[in-house]
Each structure stands twice: as structure tokens, then as C-alpha cells.
């Protein structure tokens, strides 16, 4: 379904990705773990064509994104839904306008039909009666839910989650995890999640991959990752400060 081949990416001379190879099968839930600043978000943005690799290729359903013009790239993007870290809701629009944004732009539906569809999607993520509110009136957890409702509005085949539980209290974080599992069961989507929340990774993943130093250093089932003998992986999943992982700017 998705394949990244030898992806390299640098920003202002700083190398972030140094040859990432990753494959996601249809219906699979892949979670990429890694420390802050390890390039997880950069990796995710390559999958939907928001960033272009300096070297390497991204294939979505066997189509190489780097050779597509804007119109064809947008056709591919319509198969995606993406939940951003900060939800990225449009401040100037109401909740239902946010959820129905893609429907408004890419379908011939009337405003009334869009609002009804948006209310249905909001109900799927457990929100009722907030459709006419502005995003600034919502709590962090509600904003993420609205972001998720917006991501599933066009009934995508692939869902991308950028740090879905970051900044939420543990109960709300677990509720979002449950929602991600529910989305997969009900919509049969393929999903890629990036997170540094190990608990969340174990809960929602079929496969976990760890990104470190710009490459994928380990990939396996949650159990395999949990019992990994790799010192970097075990340090990260156990959350120890002591170990081989170099913390940027910290003198150990």
C-alpha cells in the first residue's frame, strides 16, 4: 500500500532522514516511534507528499509520488486522511465547516448535506452538539476528535496520525487510542501513526518501527519491540535516560 525507498532529507545542511526504508501493507496499522526531533513528522509528511525527498522514492498504491503533477498528486491525497499534532483546525471556520472542508471542495454536496455528513462524522468520534462552535471554544481532546472527524470525512483508505496522544491527559489519550482502533475496525483503513507514547504504540499497532539517527533501526510486532535486545530500542521503550541514545544538547 505504502512504500518508502531509501528516503533522504536534509534541512539547511542538517541531515534528518538518512535512507529510510519502510513498507506498510493494506489494512496494517504501523506505528513509528522515535525521540523528539528524530524526524518522525518529516517522515509522515513525505508519505502524503507535503515534503519531497532529496533522494529516494515514496510509493502509494504503486504510484511514485515524485513523478506526479499537482492534479494527480491531489487525486492521491484524496485517498488520505491526516490528523495533525495540534489538530490544525481552521480558526476562521466552525466545527462543521472544518469537518466538511474536503466535502465542500471536492464534492458537489450542498451546505445542508455537508453539515449533516459532518454531524454524522462528529458522532462517530463521540462529539454531539458542537458543530456550530468555533475551534477556539473546544478543549485539546475535543479538538483532536474534530481533527479526526475531518480526517475521516472523505472516507479515506489511509489514515495518518501525527502524535495523536501528545498533550492529552492519560484518560483522554487512551480514549483517542480507542478511537483509532475503532476507526480501523469500522473503516478498514491502513494507518501510519508516529508517536513517542510507547503505551499508545503497543495498543494501536500491528507493527512498530523505530526511527533513530535518520534510519529505521528496528521493526516488528509490539511484543518483539518490547523484548528487543537492541540497546537503543530497549532504552527507548523502557524510557531510561541512561543508555546509548544521545540526547541533543544534554551532556551526560
Amino acid at each position: 500500500m505504502i512504500e518508502l525507498r531509501d528516503i533522504h532529507k536534509s534541512f539547511e545542511g542538517k541531515s534528518v532522514l538518512r535512507g529510510v526504508n519502510l513498507k506498510v501493507n493494506k489494512g496494517e496499522s504501523l506505528v513509528v516511534i522515535g525521540g523528539s526531533g528524530s524526524g518522525k513528522s518529516v517522515l509522515l509528511k513525505h508519505i502524503i507528499g507535503l515534503l519531497e525527498p532529496d533522494k529516494g522514492s515514496v510509493f502509494v498504491k504503486s504510484t511514485d509520488l515524485s513523478h506526479l503533477d499537482e492534479v494527480r498528486l491531489n487525486e492521491i491525497r484524496k485517498k488520505f486522511g491526516m490528523l495533525f499534532q495540534s489538530a490544525a483546525l481552521f480558526d476562521s471556520m466552525t466545527v462543521w465547516q472544518n469537518v466538511g472542508f474536503s466535502l465542500k471542495r471536492h464534492t458537489g454536496m450542498t451546505d445542508r448535506e455537508i453539515k449533516e455528513a459532518a454531524i454524522r462524522k462528529l458522532r462517530m468520534v463521540g462529539l454531539v452538539g458542537v458543530e456550530d462552535e468555533m475551534p477556539s471554544e473546544l478543549s485539546g481532546g475535543m479538538r483532536k476528535r474534530v481533527g479526526l472527524a475531518r480526517a475521516i470525512a472523505m472516507e479515506p483508505e489511509i489514515l495518518l496520525y501525527d502524535e495523536p496522544t501528545t498533550g492529552l491527559d492519560p484518560i483522554m489519550a487512551d480514549a483517542i487510542n480507542e478511537l483509532i482502533i475503532k476507526m480501523r475496525e469500522r473503516l478498514h483503513v491502513t494507518s501510519v501513526t508516529i508517536t513517542h507514547d510507547i503505551k499508545s504504540a503497543y495498543k494501536i499497532a500491528d507493527t512498530v518501527a523505530m526511527l533513530y539517527n535518520g534510519v529505521i533501526i528496528a521493526k516488528g510486532s509490539p511484543l518483539e519491540i518490547q523484548n528487543s535486545s537492541d540497546p537503543v530500542v530497549s532504552q527507548f521503550v523502557e524510557g531510561r535516560a541512561e543508555g546509548p541514545i544521545v540526547l541533543e544538547g544534554i551532556d551526560k
Binding site: 491525497r77 491526516m82 495533525f84 499534532q85 490544525a88 483546525l89 472542508f101 474536503s102 471536492h106
Partner: protein, 258 residues
């Protein structure tokens, strides 16, 4: 030594050149976006209201007082050599050729240009621009094209209002306060005013509208670094737009009124 000097010069000019290159690319993407459907009519109307209608009160106040002070200063100065009869001409020519377009452009830059850079900058740092792209929407077409078009349309319209209100302000001071004969003031206003004075001023206004919207959108679009970055983008948008308006005003005037 020579290599170090060249490196030093290169380091100084690299960033501004990069900025110019990006603005040219943004202009190209904007012009291309203008020609391709879907045309963002609703967004264009909203921006026309924001840039044009909402700027009207402050533009009106500026215009009337500029016309008034121009008449007052010209009258007291011209009186020294008995040329008070030309006050109407000076007010009309100054407003249509210069002050109408330039003042309205500077005011709108301070108001709408700053707002544009801040809005797009916030959208950039909160990933809203990425979200647009992820939802198969070209952000230049959706955000920049409506602002650019509205700037090009609304600034000439504001310049016309500024011209008229400025001339009325000059009339009020000259006729009502200073006792100049109304008929001779109006004759002085119309007799020397040519059509070229008006349309050249409007061409300048159109250019200023395109320049300030493009620069403000560019600054917002490429914002980096959170709230501080948004602040920097907003300041940069107003400063660079104002400088561009004032510098290009000279060259446009030299070309249009030669």
C-alpha cells in the same frame, strides 16, 4: 583572504536573494492560480471587504485631513508671492498623482497587510497550511490569490475615494475657513487636472495593491518559529511593503509622468 571576503559577501547577500527568488516563485504560482478554476469567489469577496471596505474609515479620515493641511500649507506659502489662486490646483494634482495612491497604500499595508502576514503566519506555524495541502487544496490558490486580486482591485478604488475626499477637505479649508471664492477654487481644481493625472495614479495604486499583498502573503507563508516568528513576519511585511511602495513610487512616477 580573498576567499574569506567573497564568503563574507556571499553570506550577506544569500538570504535576501533567496527571499527575492521565493517572492518571484510565489508571484508565478499566484498568477498561474488566478487563471485556473476553481475561482475562489467567496474568498475574493471576503478579502475585498477586509482590504477595501474595512479600511474605509481610516482612509477617509486620513484623506480629509491631508487635503485640509495641504490647502492650509499651500495657501500660507503661496500667499508670499501672490499665488493663492493655485491652491486648488496643487491640492488636486497632489492628491490624484501622489498622495491618493501612496497614502491609501501605506494605510492599508499597516492595517490589512499586517493582518494578512499574521493570519497566514499563524496558519503556517499551527500546520493549517499543511492541512490545506493534505486535503488536496492548493494553499497559494486558496489563500494568496484572493488576497492578491483583492489588493489589486481595492487599492485603486480606495485611491479614488482618497482623491475625492482629499479635494473636498482642501475645498473646505480654502473656501470655508480662508475665504477663497468657491467658483475660482473649483476652476483652479479642474482647469489643470488632466485625465492622465487620474489614471496614472490609479495604475500606481494597482501596483501597490499587488506589491503589499504579495509581500505580506510571502512573509506569512514562510513564517518559522512559533509566536515570535509570527511577530517577525508581521513587522517584516509592513516594513518591506512600505519601503517597496515608497521606492517603486518614484520609479513608477518617473515612468508614468515623463
Amino acid at each position: 583572504m580573498l576567499v574569506k571576503v567573497i564568503e563574507f559577501i556571499g553570506a550577506i547577500i544569500e538570504r535576501p536573494l533567496q527571499g527575492v527568488g521565493r517572492i518571484i516563485l510565489l508571484l508565478y504560482a499566484t498568477l498561474r492560480g488566478m487563471l485556473r478554476p476553481p475561482f475562489e469567489i467567496r474568498n475574493i469577496v471576503r478579502q475585498m471587504l477586509e482590504i477595501g471596505v474595512n479600511s474605509l474609515p481610516v482612509v477617509l479620515i486620513t484623506a480629509v485631513f491631508t487635503g485640509m493641511v495641504l490647502a492650509l500649507q499651500s495657501y500660507t506659502g503661496f500667499k508670499r508671492f501672490g499665488a493663492e489662486g493655485l491652491v486648488g490646483t496643487v491640492v488636486a494634482l497632489s492628491m490624484t498623482r501622489e498622495l491618493g495612491p501612496v497614502l491609501s497604500a501605506l494605510i492599508v499595508t499597516g492595517r490589512a497587510g499586517a493582518a494578512m502576514a499574521a493570519e497566514l503566519g499563524s496558519m503556517r506555524v499551527t500546520e493549517q497550511i499543511d492541512a490545506l495541502e493534505a486535503m488536496a487544496t492548493n494553499p497559494v490558490k486558496y489563500l494568496v490569490v484572493p488576497r492578491f486580486l483583492s489588493g489589486m482591485i481595492m487599492l485603486p478604488a480606495l485611491a479614488v475615494v482618497t482623491n475625492i475626499v482629499g479635494i473636498i477637505g482642501g475645498y473646505m479649508v480654502s473656501v470655508v475657513l480662508l475665504g477663497t471664492n468657491a467658483t475660482s477654487y473649483l476652476r483652479a481644481t479642474w482647469n489643470f487636472l488632466q485625465f492622465q493625472d487620474i489614471y496614472s495614479g490609479l495604475i500606481k495604486a494597482c501596483f501597490f495593491g499587488a506589491a503589499f499583498t504579495l509581500i505580506s502573503c510571502y512573509k506569512g507563508f514562510y513564517t518559522k518559529g512559533g509566536a515570535e516568528g509570527v511577530g517577525r513576519a508581521t513587522t517584516g511585511a509592513v516594513v518591506i511593503s512600505s519601503m517597496t511602495i515608497l521606492i517603486s513610487d518614484y520609479f513608477l512616477s518617473a515612468w508614468l509622468f515623463k
